[in-house]
Symmetry: C2
């Protein structure tokens, strides 16, 4: 496949794959979730399993236009809607999870349940987002802007693993992963930068296959070849990062909010690390951003 | 005075004040610094003291058009150029410092010198920047994107002090200062948020005068009334922050780099805390951004 460079190409890719991705949506009765799912149905790549609460199909007649692709799954005895949806994933009856009108914490409790949940041993639940900006000539992925306050070394390595898997699903032949910090300096004062250097070295030795990892780089030298040259720095990323790994949640969240508001960039996001992607947009997100996120999740699972 | 809402109004304000601000520039021989100073001279609000190395006036004849406003001050005996410039500030012969073709660390060594430097006891050297974005209807100040890795409580309080002084110099009658974090939640898990709440309470009791301080807020709820409403949060900032205080340098630097690159926003910056502002743009900055920064410094000192 050729690289997916923007969201339109992502939608086209999903249509052309011809694969139907099964979405288990938990209490999907809020307007923006319904509209996002409707767009996925119209896009021809989705089957929707409304787990728990289900919208009134008389009020949403267009949902009924795809009777074989819209199913209501009531809560199972003794389980709530989130637990039921997780069971569907475990049984191979659905491909990924989407949050409707429930609290994220309730959904995550089911996902993270030690015995009946979806997180394999050694994996880490972390958020990865993808943005379409006016400045960068391709999609820009970044992690973590929503979940892990201060990733430790093992968690950071998982973030790289997931970023590799996700960018490969987008057809990026040699993903460029930038480990960001506020300076390019490697120093014992900032132990993070020593780990960054190790990770870059391990990537050079081929640990992640055909993947470039480098850092510390700041956000600008990660994505701007001119800034890189002006600073007199050389990096195999060459100012053309596909992925930014952030040192902590303050930085990742600041990037997300600044890019969306001041950069007017649409952003999609999923949780990685569990057996399947989990779409957990916040209440405030509009239908478009929920649709982008579920298309993001669909692209990841369609490739796996 | 009325509020300065953008950089053009800042330049107009400086012209109208009719005050000549004396800039001590240390080794100001690089092209972008010379051009920035030239623009300040043309703007009619500056006198330039070239301390240490001085550009060849035959090569830059337009500098010579203001013979009474361009002075060369050689290094004093036993002092380097940075130390000489600091001495000029201490003696009241110059109003602020600007870095030319020397390392920032060398300039800061002179500024921070315990005996002969410029940092009063109890003050903190911290960076404050101001950006002109396409989205926010006014200037947006932020701190710290360049100096303090992890401000402690005392340092954060100084950041508020300086932000108040700076925004007052820009004629903002009631500055709105947002204390940013990745969530609006106050929690013992994040001690920073407890300090934020204390600071908001102290501001309500009038500690900083006619100033609104609130937090924790994320970057978006600080500047976007719609996001604030959608999240169901109330804040006296009302999504109209004049100042963002960042929890750490990773977040502050990420904001700076993201805003400048993805938001295409011009940004000016100065160091605060010393007896005078210090302009320390990096080598890579172009003449415009150095000019914005020196105009920012001039606006601050012209008001004091």
């Amino acid at each position: 496949m050729s690289s997916i460079l923007n969201f339109d190409q992502m939608f086209t890719h999903l249509r052309q794959l011809g694969r139907i991705v099964r979405i288990a949506v938990v209490d999907g009765i809020d307007a923006s979730t319904i509209e996002a799912l409707q767009r996925a149905l119209n896009g021809g790549f989705a089957k929707v399993l409304f787990v728990g609460k289900c919208p009134d199909l008389e009020e949403h007649p267009t949902l009924g236009l795809h009777p074989d692709r819209v199913v209501h799954v009531p809560e199972r005895q003794g389980l709530n809607a989130a637990e039921t949806a997780v069971a569907l994933i475990r049984e191979g009856e659905a491909d990924f999870l989407m949050k409707g009108l429930i609290h994220t914490s309730e959904l995550l409790r089911a996902v993270l349940h030690k015995e009946h949940g979806l997180l394999p041993q050694g994996e880490v639940l972390t958020h990865i987002a993808v943005s379409q900006t006016q400045t960068h000539g391709k999609l820009l992925f970044f992690t973590d802007s929503a979940v892990l306050p201060e990733p430790n070394e093992a968690q950071r390595e998982r973030q790289i693993d997931y970023a590799v898997a996700v960018t490969k699903a987008f057809g990026i032949p040699t993903p460029r992963i930038a480990l960001t910090h506020f300076t390019e300096e490697v120093s014992e004062k900032f132990p993070l930068t020593l780990h960054y250097r190790q990770l870059a070295e391990r990537a050079r030795r081929g640990e992640w296959g055909n993947v470039i990892v480098d850092g510390p780089l700041d956000v600008r030298t990660s994505v701007d070849p001119v800034a890189l040259a002006v600073k007199g720095i050389t990096s195999p990323i060459e100012g053309r990062a596909d992925v930014l790994i952030f040192p902590n949640l303050e930085a990742g969240n600041t990037f997300y909010k600044t890019l969306s508001f001041f950069g007017s960039a649409p952003i999609a996001g999923i949780l990685c690390g569990a057996k399947c992607p989990v779409v957990v947009n916040s209440r405030g997100d509009d239908a478009s951003s929920k649709f982008y996120s579920l298309a993001f999740a669909a692209t990841v699972v369609a490739q796996s």
